[in-house]
Amino acid sequence: MTTNQQTAEEKQLIARLLARDDAAFEQVVREYYPSMYAVAAAIIGHALADEVVQEAWFSVLGALPRFEGRSKLKSWIIRIVANEAKSRLRKESRSVSLEAINESWATDPRFAPAGHWHTPLPNWESDTPADLLAAEQLRDCLKMRMAELPDNQKTILNLRDMSGLEMAEICNILEVSSSNARVLLHRARDKMLRVIDKFQRLGEC
């Protein structure tokens, strides 16, 4: 799909939304819900995420006639939901810390002191994502372990890998440096990899 086609599609969508097209509204709300929810939940938590998404949509509708199309519609909407969540967070006077904790690779027991593998990974029996996730137990296990990640790692994993946002966009939304975001993301992925690995070897969570 070219950028021009996207723009034409977006223009048409915006026109339909402004023309009070119920069906178009329902469709776009459903389509963007997973990303919007992930951003809201990442910033303010699950309990208030739905409310924040709802408020964000009404900010979007209010501002839509002035949307200039300098960014993609979806990015613009994601920024609005992020701002909505952040201002809500300020009202609740909570704050999130996105500093990378210095979990050290230097003492990682998987590596010998000189830096080569001490306990290398085995081959996995199921080697495709679909095969892996066919095991319901593993899906539940991944969700559980993900919930236990430090907030900052969970947030970035959620936005990048589960919701597919671009790194630049994530850094922008969360106001973190890209080097910090990369460290957090890789830490979280590495932990999820080890969850899968343990499940492959031992069949347990």
């Binding site: 119920d22 709300v29 009404f58 495709t128 994993l157």
Partner: protein
Amino acid sequence: MLSCRELVRHSSEYVEGELTGWSKWSLKLHLFICRRCSRYVRHLRTTIDALAMLGRGQTEPSREFMARMQQRYRDWAVAHDQPGS
């Protein structure tokens, strides 16, 4: 020569294509000769794809949420039709 630990540490940047120049080539070279690290990188890619797949099935708006949204959209449309309200 890059150590396995260093390779693993930078493997997300590698699979996302964010490394350039010498960093990229030193990783490529290491992967060419190290089966253990190649396996790690392969498993990392699988993990990332699995997370994406898990993410696609994760969230759908509830029926109540959609009903509230539809109602508010109609209210908004009505207000929008009558300037000054």
